[in-house]
Amino acid sequence: MKKLINETANVVKESLAGVGAAHADLVRIDFDSRLVIRADAPKKGKVGIISGGGSGHEPMHGGFVGMGMLDAACAGDVFTSPTPDQMEAATKAVNGGVGVLHIVKNYTGDILNFEMGAELCQAEGIEVVSVVIDDDVAVQDSLYTAGRRGVGTTVIAEKICGASAERGDDLQTVADWCRKVNANGRSMGMALTSCTVPAAGKPTFELGENEMEIGIGIHGEPGRTRMEMKSAKEIVTLMAEAIISDLPFSSGDQVIALVNGMGGTPLIELYLVYNELNQICEAKGMTIARRLVGNYITSLDMAGCSITLVKADAEMLSLWDAPVNTPGLRWGV
């Protein structure tokens, strides 16, 4: 394992220290509870929004804390959910008196820990609504699994909900936006290589030189199927078809698209993927109204990408366009 780290046990803490030092104008760090908190939180009268999850997906979630997006993010260890006391501390730190939304990705650990965290907050009289993101179409049979995983749609939901809260919407309205984005969002990922968890010191799985893993999650957990390498056009077609047929998206739809790098794939390839995706959408009569291309929800050093499409109406697009000022996403300011 070759990584730019000191002690494996200190990776998360030292990285948070870097975020705090680099973006002191936007966020502050609570090292005891391992939180990234919006610098001016709590905002009285504004719905608070927190999220969180295992580390190793940067910039998600800590990089999306700031004006117009999250109020706080709880950082777990690498690929490990944060703990209920962290969610409680984050909720209290951002509670402006009108309730707090918890945006939770659908993983058993995240669900259980956020559930216990929400119970702790409610016991103290803080109104909490939790919305679960489960957008990964690679998980087909949700009857016999823990359900679809939460992946790329999370980024879109955090932006839309952040804008909704910023303009003064109440907790139910902000939560409804989260549900609406999730209901209209679908994603799929693929890997060219494994990732290496610092504490494990070796790749989580092995992929042959001519193999790829389709339907990968964001934790190095193997995907649904392993197949022979193909061209970008074939790979993107495979992923886009699975996504588009699932909602289903149809001709005339406007979408927000996310072409996301897993951490080890260069932008030259991600833009090439976007080009393929754009052609597929055009051919189907769909319009990519807004898009992100880059590393937003990563899996450490894994090479590969994910594609997310969210069907958007005019109001969702206007929330998307609203100003945002976070370490990882910034416009309109």
Partner: protein, 208 residues
């Protein structure tokens, strides 16, 4: 009888057992999960041992509660809330007692398992920790009914936990991260069932 000090000794032994099996549990998890189970338990039980030394809780129930709260706040993942809930319910089930007889031991594990089932919503044969704990507790109850003493009862429980653990190998995972693998989860032993087996095995080696 199992005293407050026996419970502390068990938890301290668990810290060593999980430290020794850190890589083994993590490797099992790498095959069907996300390669952190051993790492997380090692971190959690190290925190537990430190916390017990600092706070020195006075009785059986408060020791178990300290274990629960520390695991909940230091393990993360699914195993933090699940093992935390197990110890929390066990703590409630023995509130006020100074020593635990064989029947009390079955009762605290049963209460713990009920908590795990409620929190995790897993069923038998979903390929989880439940597959080691359920047969173990059933075997202990049966041994107790047949007049076994504490040591014999625990040994019966460990044997059942071991076969339950090995029985997860051919199962298709239906809960947790392993469930995303579908058919590919078949053929691998569940890391949660394995750590639960170690939990009982360590108790059986210490208590008599």
């Amino acid at each position: 009888m199992v005293s407050r000090d026996d419970i502390v000794a068990w938890v301290e032994a668990l810290q060593k057992v999980y430290a020794e099996n850190k890589e083994y549990l993590t490797d099992l998890d790498a095959k069907i999960g996300d390669a952190d189970h051993g790492i997380n338990l090692d971190r959690g039980y190290s925190a537990v041992v430190k916390k017990l030394a600092e706070t020195n809780p006075p009785d059986v129930s408060s020791v178990l509660k300290t274990v629960a709260m520390t695991l909940i706040s230091s393990v993360g993942g699914a195993s933090g809330p699940l093992y935390g809930t197990l110890f929390l319910r066990a703590s409630t089930a023995c509130a006020g007692k100074t020593e635990l007889a064989a029947a009390d031991i079955v009762a605290i594990f049963q209460a713990g398992l009920d908590g795990v089932l409620q929190r995790g919503k897993a069923q038998l044969e979903d390929k989880t920790m439940v597959d080691a704990l359920t047969p173990a507790i059933n075997a202990m109850q049966q041994a107790l009914n047949n007049g076994a003493d504490l040591k014999e009862m625990l040994q019966q429980g460990v044997m059942a936990a071991e076969s339950g653990m090995k029985g997860t190998i051919p199962l298709l995972a239906k809960k947790g991260r392993a469930s995303y693998l579908g058919e590919r989860s078949i053929g691998h032993q569940d890391p949660g069932a394995t750590s639960s087996y170690l939990l009982l095995k360590t108790a059986a080696e210490l208590w008599s």
